[in-house]
């Protein structure tokens, strides 16, 4: 009964989405206030019905209703209840439902935080989002219905993929989807602006907080995914340039460009067309990414062959949404003015360079990700484009972008003096280089890429500090404290995010440059050393988990004779699918991780143990946290709260 209610809610949601997609936009074009007024209540109703459907699916999981095919293939009666809930988005159908839920949640948020927007803008924004949800609801209902029954019911479920039975995996997809789908708000604002032909500073100001919040979610989502891969996959790697990762990274890069471009559009009225195009591209990449990953096209093109209906639907939907918005862009953009001009050396030109670099980086990732897909689609074989390509293309582009990040904020709008900027920034650049040489010297051996990376990381940190110092010094007569207090939160947000990039770069460089690995066979009582740490193997115990059996090893770590930690890396066999999993154990710290994974048993009492020393690895995710916090701080700036009032309201 409950699954049928869910199914029915989903059908009602589709009907409401259709109404939302057609009526308010029509009203906004004819000036029909009644039709426009439908937008908010219908959007809220849509959210309610999708939430009901989601609740019904979650209920089926929690009560172990194995007569639902999707539940039977992604859960198990022995699965702990929190993972049963997370299993709702453990497969294709449920992920789509989560996607739609997030989309309607954003719509709900728009209905609440749009009190001071003009009615026709609200009608169009919600209408566009309604149309997007039509596509997703139809896709869910017609090709990927999670409520399909399995008769007779299965005795027990096939269990959730053990890789996904993990706390980070519980929150990673919702975060990531919040980010993906959140970009639809910026997209909807862009389309609404194109329909109305009104691309002005007000539009940019409305879009900015939504874009930034979506971007914060995306940042956190990607970070969690990377962190999860690090400790769960058991290899100690944190980024693999895997198609699934790239699919989330491309929208992030473009959304980052969009955030910066929106700033120019709001402050200077320039880059309007470019900003709109970025908003369209960012969301298009989210759509493309979701589908590529969800349809399994990227991991194996053959899933298209097994379910041609899905492939065709995906392509058709992408064609309509992206093609339609780009057509609208091509039609409307020529009528949009260019905005005020600027000098070769100016804040605008710096941000333009930033945009070009970020979009180029996204393009490089795009090509690297889709090239194997095209080759495979054309039946020319399966190819891996691996880290060598991405490292070679991506690192130089981003190095330049990070360098510019320190320079850009110091340039004045419209026209800046290169000589003055050089005078002010050169000491900080020299300090970065000197410190970088010092730091790498401290770590022992040093190579050019490491010194370069550390310099860039320090530069990002020091140039942010320099910005603040200059701000305080330039305000003669005002106290330091007053000046710091009156600096807008948006500025602090920017500095924090930029400093976060610096921390991230430092982490990446130092872990790449100085990590070490040792793989040894160990018996009970054996001791091995790595980078001054001694690891003593104290044997393996059999432990029975709820839905797995575990061989858990005990290793004692000492340094200079003093005990610092006891770790329990394990190998688990998940009973439902007889699937082995490596559960690494990590002694984590601010300046280094000691990472132990238990390998195979080579003889009756001898195991392979993989030990890794990873200096500064946590700075990678720490940097991401700062980046996300910077975004939040920027959104909380009071000017967004004041500026919601449209400039000309009668």
């Amino acid at each position: 009964m409950i699954p049928e209610i869910g199914h029915f809610s989903l059908i009602l949601a589709l009907v409401m989405a259709l109404a939302l997609g057609v009526l308010p936009i029509t009203g906004s074009l004819n000036g029909n206030a009644q039709l426009m007024a439908l937008a908010r209540p219908v959007a809220r109703g849509l959210f309610l019905f999708v939430a009901t459907a989601f609740g019904c699916l979650a209920y089926s999981f929690i009560v172990n209703d194995f007569s639902v095919l999707y539940v039977a293939s992604h859960s198990n009666s022995l699965l702990p209840v929190h993972y049963r809930f997370a299993a709702v988005w453990g497969g294709h159908e449920g992920s789509l439902l989560l996607w739609v839920l997030m989309l309607t949640l954003w719509m709900f948020a728009v209905t609440i935080f749009s009190k001071r927007l003009p009615e026709e803008i609200v009608a169009r924004v919600l209408g566009v989002m309604g149309l997007i949800s039509v596509g997703f609801l139809a896709f869910t209902l017609f090709t990927s219905n999670p409520f399909e029954r399995l008769l007779p019911a299965a005795v027990d479920g096939r269990d959730l993929n053990p890789l996904l039975q993990d706390p980070a995996m519980v929150i990673h997809p919702p975060m990531l989807y919040m980010g993906y789908v959140g970009l639809s708000v910026a997209f909807a604002f862009a389309i609404a602006a194109l329909i109305g032909g009104r691309l002005d500073a007000a539009w940019a100001r409305w879009s900015r907080p939504w874009t930034t919040i979506a971007w914060v979610f995306l940042t956190v989502g990607i970070m969690l995914g990377s962190w999860w891969a690090y400790y769960e996959l058991g290899w100690g790697g944190w980024w693999f340039w895997d198609p699934v990762e790239n699919a989330s990274f491309m929208p992030w890069l473009v959304a980052t460009a969009l955030i910066h471009s929106l700033a120019v559009t709001e402050k200077r009225g320039a880059f309007k067309n470019w900003t709109v195009l970025l908003a369209i591209i960012a969301f298009s990449l989210s759509l493309l990414g979701t589908f590529l990953v969800r349809s399994g096209v990227l991991t194996s093109v053959h899933s298209f062959a097994t379910d041609p209906a899905r492939g065709v639907f995906i392509l058709g939907f992408l064609g309509i949404v992206i093609g339609g918005s780009l057509a609208l862009f091509a039609w409307r953009a020529p009528k949009v003015g260019l905005g005020s001009g600027f000098d070769v050396i100016s804040r605008e030109s710096m941000l333009l360079v930033n945009n070009v670099l970020l979009v180029a980086a996204a393009g490089a990732v795009f090509i690297g990700t889709l090239y194997p897909l095209f080759l495979d689609a054309l039946d020319m074989g399966k190819i891996s484009v691996g880290p060598p390509y991405f490292d070679a293309v991506f690192a130089p582009i981003m190095a330049l972008a990070v360098f510019m990040m320190g320079v850009g904020p110091r340039a004045r709008w419209k026209q800046a003096s290169l000589a003055e900027m050089t005078k002010r920034l050169l000491p900080w650049l020299v300090a970065s280089v000197v410190l970088a040489v010092g730091v790498t010297f401290l770590f022992g051996h040093w190579t050019a890429p490491v010194v370069g990376g550390v310099t860039l990381g320090l530069w990002a940190l020091l140039s942010s500090l320099a910005y603040l110092v200059a701000r305080v010094r330039d305000s003669a007569g005002v106290g330091v404290w007053t000046k710091l207090r009156t600096t807008p939160r948006a500025t602090y947000g920017m500095l924090l995010a930029h400093a976060g990039i610096g921390i991230f770069v430092l982490g990446v460089t130092l872990v790449k440059g100085f990590e070490s690995t040792s793989e040894v066979r160990m018996r009970m009582g054996d001791t091995t050393t790595l980078d001054g740490y001694a690891f003593r193997f104290l044997g393996v115990q059999q432990i029975q988990g709820p839905n797995y059996n575990s061989s858990s090893a005990t290793l004692e770590i000492t340094r200079d004779g003093a005990k610092i930690a006891t770790l329990h890396p394990a190998k688990r066999i998940y009973t439902a699918q007889n699937m082995p999993m490596t559960e690494s154990d990590i002694y984590s710290g601010v300046f280094r991780d000691l990472y132990i994974a238990l390998g195979d048993r080579v003889s009756i009492d001898e195991w392979i143990v993989r030990i890794q020393h990873k200096p500064m690895v946590n700075w990678i995710w720490g940097g991401c946290v700062f980046i996300a916090l910077g975004g939040l701080l920027a959104v909380s700036d009071r000017r967004y709260r004041l500026a919601i009032t449209p400039p000309a309201q009668h």
Partner: protein, 175 residues
């Protein structure tokens, strides 16, 4: 025609490409190197940097050159098949470890089994360029005279081994 149409055009090219990829099954595109002399190389061996290896050493034999890397996920798929082929002594296989870290490559062979009679180490990818490698894995069939007879792009599958490689190797061996 204005420049703002450009994104739309690019997008439709992409869509058409994807659509064609979905619907059609075009024939394999032959490598320009097939039928030509195998390019030569002098590379260090994977396991011992002081020893080198060149294709000339295999003159007079039919052999396979398999290009792989430890970072390549698809290689992991085809690897058991290579190990099986070497166990059945079908043909000598030479490995070309491509743009990899030496210790990663050695580590991989230790863990997953070593199907190669010889392993070359192409850290810079220079030999790969000569051989027209544009991704890993790729596998070449070279005849007794040192001429490339066939190229498999992407992972070897059981079908490819049965239907293509084994008959071709038999033919080239003059059996």
């Amino acid at each position: 025609m204005n420049r703002f149409v450009l994104p739309l055009i690019i997008f439709f090219v992409l869509i058409i490409f994807l659509g064609v990829g979905l619907k059609l099954k075009p024939r394999e595109v032959p490598s320009p190197l097939v039928g030509k002399m195998a390019p030569t190389f002098h590379l260090a061996q994977l396991h011992d940097a002081s020893k080198t290896i060149t294709p000339e050493e295999l003159r007079g034999k039919v052999w396979l050159l398999n290009v792989w890397a430890s970072w390549c996920v698809t290689c992991r798929q085809e690897h058991p098949l290579l190990v099986e082929m070497s166990r059945r002594n079908i043909v000598p296989i030479v490995g070309l470890n491509y743009k990899d870290k030496r210790e990663d490559g050695v580590d991989w062979l230790q863990k997953l089994g070593n199907p190669y009679v010889l392993s070359a180490y192409d850290h810079e990818g220079t030999a790969g360029i000569d051989w027209g490698v544009y991704g890993v894995p790729e596998t070449f069939v070279i005849d007794k005279a040192g001429i490339i007879r066939h190229k498999v792009i992407g992972a070897i599958t059981p079908d490819v081994i049965q239907d293509k490689l084994i008959p071709l190797i038999k033919e080239l061996n003059g059996a």
